[in-house]
Amino acid sequence: MTSGVAAQPPAQIGRPARIRGITIPSSLQLQRVPVGAVLLTMVASGIGIGWSILDSFPFYGVVAMGLLPWIPLFFFEAAWKYENYGFYAILGTFTVLQLGHLGEHTAQVTQLLIYDGNLAKAHGIFGNLDLELVHFVWDTGVWLGLLLCTYKLGFRNKWLLVSLLFSSLHEVEHMFLFYINRTNLDFYQHGGFAGIMGEHGLIGSPLARPYLHYIYNFFVVVPLVMAFWDESKHAYNVWLAKALPDMTEQERVSVTQQLQRLRVQEGDVLVQQGDVADRFYIVSDGEVEVVREGSQGETRVALLGPGQFFGEIGLMTAKPRTATVRATKDSELLTLDRDAFLMLVTRSQGGAADLDAAMHTRLAELQLLDKQSPA
């Protein structure tokens, strides 16, 4: 075990960005993936595209080679967001996948425009997947996903209900198409593929199948994007909520915007006994130990894991640190600087109560420890 002091400054993860007058919520920004990794991925993606063009790949191959390097990066960031924002990250992943799906339908409609309505040449970018089975599985997944979103968020975020309505209509259509495709292929191939609402279909409409399904997807995806945007402005860190459970939702959202992320290695010292208190910490991954230094050496006071916090005593009492805190594993912490912490204490009744209770318990434990092992 090494014993270096954590040298890396905490990374700002909470501050919303402002681009051309639009405030971009912090949860929509890259918070875990370093900028260097993004640049590297861009280079890899460019090389993939260039190589596939030089090697005469079909168009879908070129697109796939361009997209592939982004997949691990996307899921790495999404996994971190899931650990820190919970269900919001699932909604985000779902929204991104659905944007891709709408992109595929947009490509098909564009191909129809280019090839004067020739359906044989208009199957989207990944045309090999233009199968009833694939449509059915994907759209059933979308519908089930929206049912889950409705259960979790639907009555506080009503755009999800709009999306669910159109997804449900779409689902009945695909159930029908998949059913006749499997049970009566001859009928399917000679007109059944129009489905329920397609031109010449069971009920029918002026819209031919590709346009009808483009419209279905449009009305599923656009409200979903709006719902996700709204959720982004109200996402809060789940570790903060676990550490200080009595804060209101709005307080959690506001404090989340001031959080910073700090990664430390095993053995790094986060807080040194006797130092001036300048920061509050919440463990979000890994483990730290709290040790009290005395004349007889160190005594371990506590082991803290995800959702537990430290550093509040020095900030609330304006006294030097009462113990040393050291990482026992590679860990990640969320931190608030002094100003943000004091703002929390003075403005959040619930948060202050949680901190006060923890501080008194810990001070009593330290007093007891000091009595048991006098210097």
Binding site: W143, K152, G154, H190, I215, Q250
Partner: protein, 109 residues
């Protein structure tokens, strides 16, 4: 959460919908999709599947109703959280950038 169906958003969505429908209508009229498929299915063949479609619709409606019912129950359980207000946010987060309030109109003539 504040009103999500604001006039600005509905206007944006309306304009986008009009653009999409306009494009589709234009394409459907000028380049109707065709692909060498014989459309020989009769109305009777379609009508044969009406009961199947009704069952499919009932499955979807039932699942939707269950999600809405349990979603509503979950929502009412969590209703004791503080409503999101600009004032509450601004009180706690001084760094937050707030759009200035819209100017009130003057007296009309």
């Amino acid at each position: 959460m504040k009103n999500q169906f604001t006039a600005k958003r509905l206007l944006f969505l309306g304009a986008l919908t009009a653009a999409v429908f306009g494009f589709v209508a234009w394409q459907q009229t000028t380049n109707p999709p065709h692909g060498g498929v014989d459309f020989t299915a009769t109305r009777g063949q379609f009508h044969h599947y009406i009961p199947h479609v009704i069952v499919m619709a009932l499955i979807v409606i039932t699942a939707d109703a269950l999600a809405l019912w349990y979603g509503w129950k979950r929502h009412t359980r969590q209703k004791n959280v503080e409503p999101v207000t600009d004032a509450a946010d601004a009180r706690l987060n001084p760094l937050r950038e707030v759009e200035p309030p819209a100017p009130t109109g003057g007296a009309s003539a």
